[in-house]
């Protein structure tokens, strides 16, 4: 462990490479977390099925690529399919728990996650899969020390494009405005003539589509496996809690930071601790929030 830290200090280019890699991966995390924050902010549902949605999107893209469809087109296909799947999930499950206790929605989405994971593992076995485009790597410093796969660079670019599209959609379009109005105050939005039920269903489907696209990117830059979903749920949750709801720049920054942190952590203490590292971040974020809140409570008293 100390030897690894020493190595990073001796060879700063290596550290820079890890940092760049972290940024590229972190962009995907931000995208997933943005979807979670959207659903959370608009309809107050903490979607524990977020990770399995991502993995399902990855599998759709991977399956289509084995049939010969180009993965970038497969990404759009995955987004469309996940849109439909989320619509079914919304109609059957999520719409029924909207008005209820928060824990019920948590459990219901946990059940959804369970069904999705198990179905995926039945359909595609438990082997890890990845999509290889065979594009080679980008040699960052020209000396072969730090190689970045072009796939990852492309995934980062796609993430940026998607983020811009999403932000413009939220700001400019009628539906985006309706979503923001509902998030601010659902009752007032209803009074103003917004069909909030439609907004809810649209938001959940939009989140599904985001997850589908993000999943396709994950399949391209990393590996997918039916049971890797929960880690993505936790990552997204950490990001949203750390950044706060409705704080898009915060989510993006936190996502990039998390990508970097995971890369450095994985390099320093070993890749087998990666999941423990993610959960450790979750606990750290929750404890920090707790300390902040307790200070606030004292201030009120």
């Amino acid at each position: 462990m100390w030897a690894n830290i020493d190595l990073l200090i001796q060879v700063p280019k290596l550290a820079a490479g890890l940092f760049l890699e972290g940024l590229l991966i972190g962009a995907v995390f931000s995208l997933i977390a943005y979807g979670l924050a959207l659903v959370w902010g608009v309809m107050n549902v903490k979607n524990l099925a977020q990770g399995p949605f991502v993995i399902a999107g990855g599998y759709i893209c991977w399956y289509l690529s084995t049939l010969g469809l180009h993965p970038v087109l497969g990404m759009f296909a995955a987004a469309v399919v996940m849109w439909g799947l989320s619509w079914i999930c919304f109609k059957l499950v999520v719409s029924k728990v909207l008005e209820l206790d928060m824990f019920v929605s948590l459990l219901a989405t946990f059940g959804l996650a369970y069904v999705l994971e198990q179905s995926l593992s039945l359909a595609f076995t438990q082997d890890t899969q990845t999509i290889n485009l065979g594009w080679g790597s980008l040699d960052v410093f020209g000396d072969g020390l730090v190689l970045l796969a072009w796939q990852k660079v492309m995934a980062f670019a796609i993430c940026c494009v998607l983020a811009v599209v999403l932000v413009l959609f939220m700001k400019r379009s009628r539906m985006g405005q309706a979503i923001r109005a509902t998030a601010q105050n659902a009752r007032a939005a209803r009074v103003m003539g917004i069909d909030t039920d439609k907004v809810y269903s649209f938001t959940f489907c939009l989140n599904g589509a985001i997850c589908g696209a993000a999943g396709a990117l994950v399949a391209m830059i990393w590996v997918i496996q039916p049971f890797y979903g929960i880690t993505y749920s936790i990552r997204a949750f950490v990001l949203v809690v750390a950044a706060g709801l409705g704080n898009l720049p915060g989510v993006i920054l936190a996502g990039l930071g998390m990508g970097g942190l995971e890369q450095f952590g994985g390099f320093i203490i070993g890749a087998e601790y990666q999941q423990a590292l993610v959960v450790g971040m979750l606990l750290a974020v929750l404890v920090v929030r707790l300390l902040q809140q307790s200070r606030k409570r004292q201030a009120v008293a």
């Binding site: 499950v93 369970y114 601790y273 979750l282 606990l283």
Partner: protein, 344 residues
């Protein structure tokens, strides 16, 4: 009447493994689920803190008892390194002292651990608490999975029972049964005291409860410690029943027992004394009976069952009975027992 029901319950529990010896391990598993459901309901139903990570104490207790049971005779590091029971032997005396000490240590250490953990987690409210506890359970599984001393991902084989395997199953069943009954008695007694009222006060409005002078943090931690005590013991016995423990699938099985206990409580009826017991029995029976008919789809079916119970059947069996037959439910909690028996 009340005592008749209790005596009948004890008699049925005792007779079950004698009448159907082939199913002894199933009955043990049923007791495990009952204990987990009852202790979960104490915080989830009565105190309003819905935890998704009570399975942490299950796995922790299991590992504590494994370490104690092995260390009483051998060095645990060498034991796991050499592959456990294939190489090392246990005398009868070592086995039984180990079992008793291991189970006791599991319960006590879990209860003690609940205090510092509670200090961190009970500041979190609602869904944050649920996700935080889930995080603790997952993290624990991952940490133990990389810890060579306790066998890492390979797991530990527990010392074997000296003698007939059927006797072993029966002895462990009786241990489970006693734990379950003591747990029920303790919980029923707690609900009848001021402590039970304090739990309900925290569920209904924590700020007001604190305003009325209740030491809410202490009450929450004591409640969790009681739950952890029984869950730890239960995990220790379960480890011996299974015979081989492993961090992700057996000990910290977040997505199996960890979620089953919550579903069992919701099925039976949250915040009632008999609800978790009935729910656990119905859920376990449903799961085991339908298990073989799904040809590989059983896990998907189980997920669907979870969603259906959570979304469409929230009041639970007890809540449903209460609505259908209010005259069966007086103010006295005890009047529910005949239905509970009928449901078994």
């Amino acid at each position: 009447m009340k005592w008749l029901v209790y005596i009948a319950f004890i008699a049925i529990s005792l007779a079950a493994p004698l009448v159907f010896p082939a199913y002894t391990q199933q009955f043990s598993a049923l007791w495990v689920l009952i204990i987990l459901a009852m202790t979960w309901d104490m915080q989830g139903g009565q105190m309003g803190y819905n935890s998704l990570g009570n399975i942490f104490f299950f796995g922790f207790g299991m590992y504590v008892s494994a370490v104690v049971q092995v260390s009483i005779a051998h060095d645990i590091g060498e034991y796991t390194y050499a592959g456990g029971i294939n190489v090392f032997q246990f005398t009868d005396g070592q086995y039984f002292t180990g079992l008793v000490l291991g189970v006791a240590a599991a319960g006590i250490l879990c209860a003690l651990l609940a205090f510092p953990l509670g200090w961190i987690l009970f500041g979190l409210r609602g869904p944050y608490f649920a996700i935080g506890t889930l995080g603790v359970a997952i993290a624990a599984g991952e940490m133990v999975g990389t810890w060579e001393w306790v066998g890492a991902g390979q797991g530990i084989s527990m010392p074997p029972f000296p003698g007939n395997p059927d006797t072993a199953k029966f002895v462990l069943y009786i241990m489970n049964m006693i734990t379950g009954m003591v747990c029920f008695a303790v919980i029923a007694w707690l609900y009848s005291t001021r402590f039970g009222l304090a739990l309900n006060a925290i569920r209904d409005d924590e700020q007001k409860a604190e305003g009325m002078g209740l030491q809410t943090l202490w009450i929450k931690r004591v409640c969790w410690a009681v739950a952890a005590f029984f869950v730890g013991i239960c995990g220790a016995i379960y480890g011996n029943t299974v015979g081989f423990i492993e961090p992700l699938e057996v000990a910290f099985q977040t997505i199996y027992l960890g979620i089953f206990m919550v579903v069992a409580v919701l099925l039976g009826g949250k915040g009632t004394l008999w609800g978790p017991v009935v729910g656990a029995i119905v859920f376990h029976t449903l799961k085991e009976v339908t298990w073989t008919h799904f040809l590989g789809w059983q896990w998907v079916a189980l997920g669907v069952l979870i969603v259906v119970i959570v979304v469409y059947f929230q009041e639970g069996i007890m809540g449903w009975l209460q609505r259908q037959r209010p005259e069966w439910f007086g103010i006295r909690v005890e009047s529910r027992e005949p239905e509970a028996e009928a449901a078994t």
